[in-house]
């Protein structure tokens, strides 16, 4: 009998890139649900717009680059990019804002920078930063969470109207619906000379961080821990990032607790948790060595604090991730593990 020649190993575990990406999507479900509860339909509509645009852009770019369509579309990487960017956008972001961000993420940051596996920067964060720096007004118009001043008011139809025609129902003005995010409030008011205690008495703040926000953070944490537990994400990156952020926040908090927010507020605010588990853990753009991933995470955490505290933006996860993305190859070079049998030290 004649047989086929194939080299070893002859068996494999049932894993695929698509499976990895789908897990990231599953892990985002609780967080998305919480955001939808507190901020309304806008979150879901943004997700749908982002996904549709991402898949269209992905298809066109794959076709242009001559890649097999079915194989790469089924890896779900474009959907993950869409999801990560969509949840970072204000719930009433106009449709063109979402579209523009996704197009930049998929066409430029993903495909023009090399395609899946070769892009040096996290595509979703590139798209986000492009929007944040180009359209600061639209990007900071976050809704006031449900249950704070008012029961959540916009219906699905009204939300669609707002997103696609920039028309709000007559009973609302944009100013009534939107407000500063907790991090934004903290920044502005510290700038006005208020103390942290005074600021935290404002109704924007809840038990640990922002009203409503803190529940979304908790939901993202649950999904993130599941990612770590299933080894879809390396624990070192979130551990590094959150401990980096916690340590530097603690230092400043101890120096002057009236001027610097406590570490738990920083950990629980803005995109810290979401960024630690969902953004920074993008393996393509992160460091690839075990020690390197810790350092990479710590770097992001520290940068987040610096940007929040001393930079021009209320949150800094996107910038920090991009800054550390470009440091990843160098980190990898200097953090190679000790090979079995190599001399120690």
């Amino acid at each position: 009998m004649r047989f086929k020649i194939v080299t070893s190993p002859h068996i494999a575990q049932n894993v695929s890139v698509g499976q990895v990406m789908r897990r990231v999507l599953y892990a985002m479900v609780p967080g998305i649900a919480a955001l939808t509860w507190f901020f309304g339909w806008g979150i879901l509509i943004n997700l749908v717009i982002a996904t549709v645009v991402a898949l269209l852009a992905e298809t066109v770019m794959l076709a242009v680059r001559g890649k097999p369509l079915a194989l790469h579309l089924s890896d779900f990487s474009a959907v993950v990019t869409a999801g990560l960017l969509a949840v970072a956008l204000p719930p009433l972001a106009p449709w063109w804002l979402t579209t523009l961000g996704i197009l930049f993420a998929i066409v430029v940051a993903k495909h023009l920078y090399g395609g899946l596996g070769y892009n040096p920067f996290n595509p979703a964060m590139v798209g986000y930063v492009v929007l944040l720096t180009s359209f600061p007004r639209e990007m900071s118009a976050w809704l006031i969470p449900h249950g704070l001043d008012q029961p959540h008011a916009l219906t699905l139809l009204e939300t669609l109207q707002a997103i696609f025609h920039s028309e709000l129902p007559a009973r609302f003005t944009l100013d009534a619906l939107t407000g500063a995010t907790p991090l934004d409030a903290l920044r502005t008011q510290i700038g006005l000379g208020l103390t942290v205690t005074e600021i935290r008495n404002s109704p924007v703040f809840g038990m640990v961080a922002g009203q409503g926000w803190e529940w979304a953070t908790l939901s993202f944490l649950a999904g993130g821990l599941w990612l770590v537990q299933t080894r879809t994400a390396d624990w070192r990156i979130p551990a590094g990032m959150l401990s980096g952020l916690a340590v530097i926040a603690t230092v400043f908090y101890l120096i002057d607790p009236q001027h610097y927010a406590p570490p738990w507020f920083h950990l629980w605010s803005g995109a810290a948790i979401f960024g630690a588990f969902f953004i920074a853990t993008d393996p393509v753009t992160a460091s690839a060595t075990p020690h390197g991933r810790l350092i990479y995470g710590v770097g992001i955490g520290v940068l987040v604090y610096i940007i929040r505290g001393f930079g021009g933006y209320p949150d800094g996860v996107a910038f920090s991730v991009l800054l550390m993305n470009i440091a990843a190859p160098t980190i990898d070079l200097y953090t190679q593990p000790r090979v079995f049998g190599a001399r120690r030290g």
Partner: protein, 514 residues
């Protein structure tokens, strides 16, 4: 329970042990014709000492160990040598090799066997007996055991002698069955090894998915001081360097051998053949082999070396429908064979007939997403994704910077890769390219040296000739003058003093030489 020192990485693989380990080892039927390769070990091929037409007895030497790293080959049964010629053999290269083809006479007449008392023998005599009995490592590498049983030149004393009964590859159960059934024989062989190596301690490593084998070995070791150490079932714990680490905590240095850290390691089946060779005078002419996978009655067989794989599969009930691949060894490190018309060799611990059911489905390769799953499982603690990156880009020097040659090709990285990249294949390719380049370089260097030497020689000869002529020329001229000779003689002398046209132009001579 003594402590273990876990190695980095590794995998829990599928096991598939029960398919073949439930029945005792069966004696395989005597084949009508055996093809016995003369190279069944690492090192020099055995020199054939029989010719076609010769009658041979069972156990008679038919190939002589040729050099220090070599081992003898014996007739597995009595009969007539049909021919000594190149035949297909089970080797990863797929190349045929020299075999002694024996037509058995069915009488199984033994050559005279001489058991010896190993305690009464000088170590070098004992090693010679093992070499002439063709004892090699039966775990798969087939390294001549006599070489490893000699400490001189390495160190005064051995710290630890390890017997490897881990059998970490899925599907394979020949060592499991051998330990269950021949524990006493294995320990008897171990005594001989201990006599030669005088280790401070003797450890027997067995993965804990073989409780019967562990129990049998513990019983056989009672009162000997040899310690059985059950190890967690984690591939590749049976890989030598990993097992040494696991049991002793010592890391074999990069590019080194376990002996460098005072450890020597043998397979359990090797110990058994040492026992047969010394206490029974029987050379290695058979081995236990697992025949499993997509065959009707998987099991273990004590089969004569040279038995065609096809006949062994036949005795395991034959192929089931849909066998796509025939693998020698396990599914993680074994290699696929073109044909089942190849003979059983000392290195063949398993014949795995695999169908789509057992095999990984062929999946399209995606780009590496640097997820690091390969880093987590690599037992050599390498960065497989970096190695892949450089091997693919043919940056072989960088691949070596990332310790390409520490890769043991265990296959862990490939099996966990979500992008289905055949990583190990890239590493093999890179290693082969580097070896080929080095050979090229050596060849070029040799050619350069030879060319240099030749130029120097020509130059030397030229100068010698000129010096000689210069010495002679004035004398001759003087002689010619004194003889009243004419101008003609002087001209001839001057012409002669000129260098040979060929010598003046080495390039021309080189072309002629070429």
């Amino acid at each position: 329970m003594s402590r273990l020192y876990p190695f980095h990485g590794g995998l829990k693989t599928v096991r598939h042990k029960t398919e073949s380990n439930q029945q005792p080892i069966q004696r395989a039927a005597l084949p009508r014709r055996l093809m016995v390769p003369l190279r069944q070990h690492i090192g020099a091929m055995a020199k054939p000492v029989v010719a076609s037409g010769d009658q041979v007895l069972k156990g008679q030497m038919i190939g002589q160990a040729d050099g220090y790293i070599s081992a003898a080959i014996h007739a597995p049964t009595s009969g007539r040598v049909a021919t000594v010629e190149t035949r297909p053999v089970p080797h990863p290269s797929g190349l045929p090799d020299l075999c002694v083809v024996i037509d058995s006479d069915g009488e199984e007449r033994w050559v005279e066997r001489q058991p010896v008392d190993y305690r009464a023998l000088h170590p070098s005599e004992l090693r010679n007996i093992l070499r002439n009995a063709g004892v090699v490592g039966l775990g798969g590498a087939a390294f001549p055991s006599a070489v490893k049983l000699n400490l001189s030149g390495h160190r005064e004393r051995l710290e630890t002698l390890i017997l490897n009964g881990a059998e970490c590859e899925p599907w394979i159960t020949c060592d499991d069955r051998l330990m269950r059934e021949q524990a006493a024989g294995i320990v008897a062989g171990l005594h001989v090894m201990v006599h030669l190596l005088e280790p401070r301690e003797v450890l027997i490593g067995i993965e804990d998915d073989k409780p019967e084998a562990i129990a049998a070995m513990i019983e056989a070791c009672a009162g000997t001081g040899y310690e059985v150490r059950p190890a967690p079932t984690r591939y590749p714990s049976g890989s030598v360097k990993q097992l040494v680490k696991l049991l002793t905590g010592k890391e074999t240095p990069v590019e080194g051998l376990p002996i460098d850290v005072g450890v020597q390691c043998f397979n359990v089946a090797t110990a058994y053949t040492v026992h047969r060779a010394v206490d029974h005078g029987e050379p290695v002419i058979s081995r236990t082999v697992t025949v499993t996978g997509h065959v009707r009655q998987p099991g273990n067989f004590q089969a004569l070396l040279g038995t065609p794989f096809a006949e062994l599969v036949e005795q395991a009930g034959g192929y089931q429908e849909g066998v796509e691949r025939l693998i020698m060894g396990g599914p993680m490190m074994g290699f696929a064979l073109h044909s089942d018309e190849v003979p059983l060799t000392k290195a063949a611990n398993c014949i795995l007939a695999a169908s789509a059911e057992e095999l990984a489905p062929t999946q399209p390769v995606m780009p590496c997403i640097r997820c690091g799953a390969c880093v987590d499982v690599c037992p050599a603690n390498l960065l497989p994704q970096q190695l892949y990156w450089h091997a693919r880009a043919k940056e072989f020097d960088k691949a070596q910077d990332y310790h390409l040659f520490s890769c043991i090709e265990c296959g862990c990285c490939s099996t966990v890769c979500p992008s289905h990249i055949p990583l190990v294949q890239y590493y093999r390719y890179a290693k082969n390219e580097i070896w080929a380049q080095e050979k090229e370089k050596q060849k070029a260097e040799l050619a350069r040296q030879r060319h240099q030497a030749r130029l120097e020689r020509l130059e030397r000869e030229k100068q010698e000739r000129e010096a000689k002529l210069r010495q002679k020329a004035p004398a001759r001229a003087a002689r010619a003058e004194s003889e009243g000779g004419g101008k003609l003689d002087i001209e001839t002398a001057v012409a002669r003093a000129k260098p040979h046209p060929d010598a003046a132009n080495p390039a021309a001579t080189r072309q002629q030489d070429a």
